[in-house]
Symmetry: C2
Subunit: 247 residues, 2 copies
Amino acid sequence: MDQPRAITEVWLQRLFRRTDLSSGDMATIRELPGRIDHIEANRDFVKLGERVTAACLVVDGLAARFGQTVEGERQLTALHIPGDCADLHSAVLPNPECALSAVTDSTIYRIPHEYLHRAAQSSPAIARAFWRDCTVDASIAGEWMLNNGRRDARARLAHLICELAVRYANCGADRDRFALPMTQIHMGDALSLTPVHVNRMLRRLREDGLVTIRAGVVEIADWNGLARAGEFSDRYLHLTRENPDTG
Amino acid sequence: MDQPRAITEVWLQRLFRRTDLSSGDMATIRELPGRIDHIEANRDFVKLGERVTAACLVVDGLAARFGQTVEGERQLTALHIPGDCADLHSAVLPNPECALSAVTDSTIYRIPHEYLHRAAQSSPAIARAFWRDCTVDASIAGEWMLNNGRRDARARLAHLICELAVRYANCGADRDRFALPMTQIHMGDALSLTPVHVNRMLRRLREDGLVTIRAGVVEIADWNGLARAGEFSDRYLHLTRENPDTG
DNA sequence: CGCCAGATTGAGGACGCTCAATTCTGGTGG
DNA sequence: CCACCAGAATTGAGCGTCCTCAATCTGGCG
C-alpha cells in the first residue's frame, strides 16, 4: 500500500466542503490505505462486467465512466477530475454495469472496499459523507440526462463546458481559462453526438464569441453568454455545504 | 403520522432482497413514521427548487422524477413503481435539482428525513441499505443515459418496456402482461422522443410481433425478440443480493 | 522529413421533429 | 341509451438537425 496522506487530501477536502466531519473522521479518511496506479490515455482501468473490489480515487488526469452498446458505441455517464472518487458506488454495488476509462494519462488511487466499509461503519458521519458523494454524482447524471435529452447540440456543448469550468475552478483553476484534456470524440461520447458535429458546434460557439478550445485549452470569452446558451446553473453540482435535516 | 406497518413493508422487502438486515433493523424500517398522501395524476408533489424535508415512498401508482429546460420541456430521469423510494437521495441532498410528478393517481408515504437519519445512525446496516438503494437508482440512470443517447427510437422503447416488465414482475406481476399507466407523452419524456414518434415506434414493435400496448395494458408477445431489440439485460437493475466485500 | 492522431470541412442522406387533421376511448350528463 | 366531451392515440406531409462517409489539414514527435 502506498503512502496515502497527500493523496486522499483532495477528496477529503471535497467531502468536507459538503459535510461536517469531525477531525477524527477526517483522519480516518486521510489514512485510507490504497494503491497508486498510473493509467495511460484511453485505457479502461475498470472493465465492463468485472467484479470490483476497490474504489478509484482520481489523483491526476481525467477519468470517464461509460456504458456501451453491443456494437461498442460508448456513452460517457460521468467525468471525473482529480479529487473525485470515480466509483465509490462500487463499494455497495460491486458488480456495476459501467466501466472506467482514462481520458488522458491519469493517476488513480485504488482504495479497497473493505477499508471504505470499515470507515463507514466506524462513523455515521463518514457513512453519510460517502452516501452524499454518490448522490451528488447522481444529481450530475440527472442533469446530463436532461442536457443530452432535451437540448440541441450547441446548448449541450455549452453546458458541458460550463460544468467543467466550474468544477475545475472549484479546485483552484481559472474558470475562464483551463486545460481540458479531452478530444472531440470524448465530447461526442459524453453528449451523444458524433465528433464531426461536436466540431461544427465548437466552431459556432467560437464564431458566436462565447468560447474557444485550442490545443486542449478552453478559453471562455463570454461566461454569461455561454451559460445562457447552455441554460447552465451550477446548483446541481452541490459544491457548497447544505445543512440537512440531521437527526 | 399514519400507521406505517403495511406501508413500508414493500420497500423493506426490496431493501432486504439486496442487503442483509437484522430483524431489529427491519423493525426500525418497518416502523418509520410518515404521512400518507394521495396525489392525482399529473400533479407535481415535489416541486422544482423547493427544499425537501421528507422522502417519498411510492405506495401505489406511478411516480416520475424529472428535470426541465427553461422552455419547460421535461426529461424524466426515473420512474418509480410501488415499493420504490422516489427521492431517498433528498435525505442527504435536501435541495435537489429535480422534481417528482405523479404519472397516474398515486399514493405516497412521506417519511421525514429526520427519521431516516436517525435510523441510519442507529445502524450501519441501515445506512448502507439506504446508500445502496440510491446507488441502484444511479445505476438505472446510467443505463437510461446509454439507452437514450446511443440507441435508436425503436430500441429505446423496447428497452424501457423490458425494464418495466422486469421491475413489475419483481413485485409479483406477470412479466408478459401487466398494466402500465403511462401515456405516450410520458414515454416520450422518458426516452427523449416526441409522443408522435413514440406512437410510430410502438406500431413498429407491434407489427414486428414483439409487444402490444392497448388501453394501458402491455402484452409482450415475444420476450426474447423484445429484449434483443432493446439490447436489454436486467443486470443493471440489481434485483438480487450481491455479497459486497463487507468490512 | 514522414508519420499519426486529432481537427476540420464538404456533400448527401436519414431519423426524428413539427404541425395539423382525424379517430378512438372512456367518462359524464341528459 | 345516447350525445357529448376531453384526452389520448393515430396518421400524413414536409422539414431540419444531426449523421455518414470521405477528404484534407494541422501539430506533435520520432
